[in-house]
């Protein structure tokens, strides 16, 4: 079983569309994250969720919204997509922020 799974793996969409990326972890972890990795490979933290409560909301546009229906899931919804949103988005989970983080395989989002 995959520990952290993301769907879809690839997403190509037009500017202005709304899309969602799903993330599920089966590790029983309390903390989940969303990261954006741009073309320069920088891993930027976007959101952090702990037991379904948003802990950190980094300075990302409010077009991005995390949604957590339960502790095992943290989905990322993006409204009005822009060209600059093109990147690889990684979901991750950990027991706490001082233990190993497990990453999903990533979702490559391309906005055209």
């Amino acid at each position: 079983d995959t520990a952290v799974s993301q769907t879809p793996k690839y997403l190509v969409t037009q500017m202005g569309n709304d899309k969602s990326i799903k993330c599920e972890q089966n590790l029983g972890h309390d903390t989940m994250y969303w990261y954006k990795q741009d073309s320069k490979k920088f891993l930027k933290i976007m959101f952090s969720y702990n037991n379904k409560e948003l802990i950190i909301n980094e300075t990302v546009p409010n077009r991005f919204s995390p949604k957590s229906p339960d502790k095992a899931h943290l989905n990322l919804h993006i409204n009005s997509l822009e060209l600059g949103d093109s990147a690889v988005y990684f979901c991750a989970s950990s027991l706490t922020d001082t233990t190993e983080a497990f990453f999903g395989q990533g979702t490559r989002l391309t906005v055209v």
Partner: protein
């Protein structure tokens, strides 16, 4: 607060050693090391929590200085499989926020 890594890129021949540094102007609560191969997700290497701590994993080891402002990752007798981008991260315990440095690209040539 985002840690700073150096160098940004390293090119080595197989069998050579490498050192990657991770530093901050303020004390780091913890240091995490990850490796990411091209087209893949980052993979955990190790975590250091205490000043003065050293950890090893086969030929890859790391240290955390006493003031907890710098960590170094040591790769000894590098193998082709060590190629990738190395990230250090830091998290303030309880804040549930793991922040990464800008990464160091390591290329190992035969």
């Amino acid at each position: 607060q985002q840690p700073v890594q150096s160098p940004q890129a390293v090119i080595l021949r197989e069998g050579e050693d490498a050192v990657i540094n991770c530093s901050s102007s303020k004390a780091l609560y913890s240091v995490h090391w990850y490796r990411q191969k091209h087209g893949e997700a980052p993979v955990f290497l190790m975590i250091l929590l205490k000043g003065g701590e050293q950890k090893g994993h086969e030929k890859i080891s790391a240290s955390f200085n006493e003031k907890k402002q710098q960590s170094s990752l040591y790769l000894t007798a590098s193998q082709l499989s060590y190629s990738g981008t190395y990230f250090c991260g830091t998290a303030r315990g309880g804040a549930q926020k793991l922040v990464f440095g800008q990464g160091t690209r390591l290329t190992i040539n035969p």
